[in-house]
Amino acid sequence: MSEAIDAAFGGDPAFVPYLAVGDPDVESSLEYVRALERGGADVIELGLPFSEPIAEGPTIQGAVARALEGGMTVERFFEAVERLRDDIDVPLVCMTYYNLIYQYGGEGADRGPEAFVERAAEAGIDGFVVPDLPAEESGPLRRTCDERDLDLIFIVAPTTRGERLRKLMERTSGYVYVQARLGVTGARADVSDRTAESLDRLAEWDVPKAVGFGISSGEQAREVVAAGADGIIVGSALVDIVAEGTENGDPTEEVAARLEATARELNEGAVAGAAERSQSTTRPERT
């Protein structure tokens, strides 16, 4: 269990932005990550691009494609993380697909999650989100994370109930990624009805609940947190800014400034939501 992540969920609602490392190139994406920290990020999810991002919508698919096109590799990802660690403090979560984790360390006995996790820890990663790794297949990675006090964050879907939910909640550490709606990542104009419903379902579990999938505005952030979330995860809305800036050839600083501003707005929305919630009595408080 990463103490840094634990701490991040300790006070105000956590703002957890996502960016794909290497989009559109390593240097720029590092600038963008720094901007997010300035904008108030409590945890940052760093996407390690995989060629088949089956859980992503068009926006993040585009980021992944741009990053791979730009020559992103697993090793370059770790090097980038190492550089980030020189100047930012927030916990960093690596978001990627299982094959990259599994392949690391080459052929044969060296291969597998151990090598990957070791290298990630060394570079400064605090936890992992692996969208194509359900509880059933997570044994080796969970064990390895435990050995190194790193978090393995699971996604809870609107369809996750009963026995499955229990299994997941027992395995997740750091926080649980509450998927706000069915489908893939992507910015939406409205908050799903299912968010409140999911948070209700999770109420009995004593682990921070960060809601993601579709949040794109401070207003939405507020609503989600008011509904009981301990944090908000925002990806596509931020990646959109990178995509647009890249397309228009805008200077990195300008794009970074926009990211920072948006981050601030989202963060403020979350804080406002928390204030609302503490006034209400219907929602259980985090202990």
């Binding site: 494609a65 359900p134 499955r164 489908g183 893939v184």
Partner: protein, 417 residues
Amino acid sequence: MSTKFGDYGGQYVPEALMPAIEELEDAFKRYVLENEDGFMDEFRERLRTFGGRPTPLQYAEQLSERHGTDIYLKREDLLHGGAHKLNNALGQVLLAKYMGKERIVAETGAGQHGTATAMAAAHLDMPCEVYMGRRDINRQRPNVFRMRLNGAEVTPVTTGRGTLKEAISETMRDWATTVERTHYVIGSVVGPHPFPTMVREFQSVISEEARRQVREEAGRLPSAVVACAGGGSNTMGTFAEFVDDEDVGLYAVEAGGSSLEVDEEAGVAPNSASLSTGTEGVLHGARTKLLQDPDGQIVESHSVSSGLDYAGVGPELAHLVDEGRVTPATVDDDDALEGFHRLSQDEGIIPALESAHAVAWLGEATADQLGECVVLNVSGRGDKDLESVVEETESRDLENAPSMDVFAEADADGGSL
């Protein structure tokens, strides 16, 4: 029920899909394995009257003579829709109906699985949407027409190179969005458990029939059983009932494309030979053999035959190869085209380009591998490939290719005597 074949298989999918997959596994056990509500009876009956089963096992006279051994063709090309794909598509669409689903999604590469699913969906009155790579749409026009004619939506997938791999990813995304009322009819023995087992189960009707037929017609079990392998559904369907017959050699023929080397820089494999050259990894929900770079990025596969053009392969096949029970082989594009012309001219059967790989393998196998009695699965017919075969043939220097001057002549003849 095990979700794995040795270390292969499993369920590497987004959590949102897991409940549906559990529900599917449950339905599979009850309806398929236990014939609850007479599911299997209805399935077999529809395969017979709608699909045209049993398909014949045909002694191939000229081919047998050419290769000096008795060759029997399992004629899946005669199945409704023109390929073995209907066995699976009909099974899954029917299962979806039993499960109370209201909508079908499917991916397709060559378009054969898409057409089979569209047909099954029309037959069973289910709405159907098929994802297909843009490039494949252009390569396989007739199959796109067929799906549309059967009332299915066809949605172009424009990511990556626009082939099967991208279409599967995109279909999984649709499914993740609509999973509560939608069933994803996957087209081969790939994907998360229970798909590989379930698709193999639906396809194993091929070997159930073939095993009985070859005993009737040849009075023996075959020395070798051959099938092409893309995802591996016709392959596992053809092998399934022979796996326990230890003396029967099982040969899975993959697309050797233009070369077996991978261009890691470009992220492209000019072949689709996952069993022969791939390494273990996780793709589309299962651990299996893959074409990937050392990081684990999936490379673009390539084959002249769209239906084999996939960077992965069924986990059960990967396992059987590791166990030494199945022997993988490759046939390159040129040889596959020659195999296509060979079967067309020698036997009057125009095979799918996929199946042509299995035909071509006969010429590359050792006498020892062939033995005295070979069963070869003609997984589909070549109608869908006509235009592209003509084009590909013209750009190569093939020995046995017919000329297509007749169109030019007809044009030149003009309208008079």
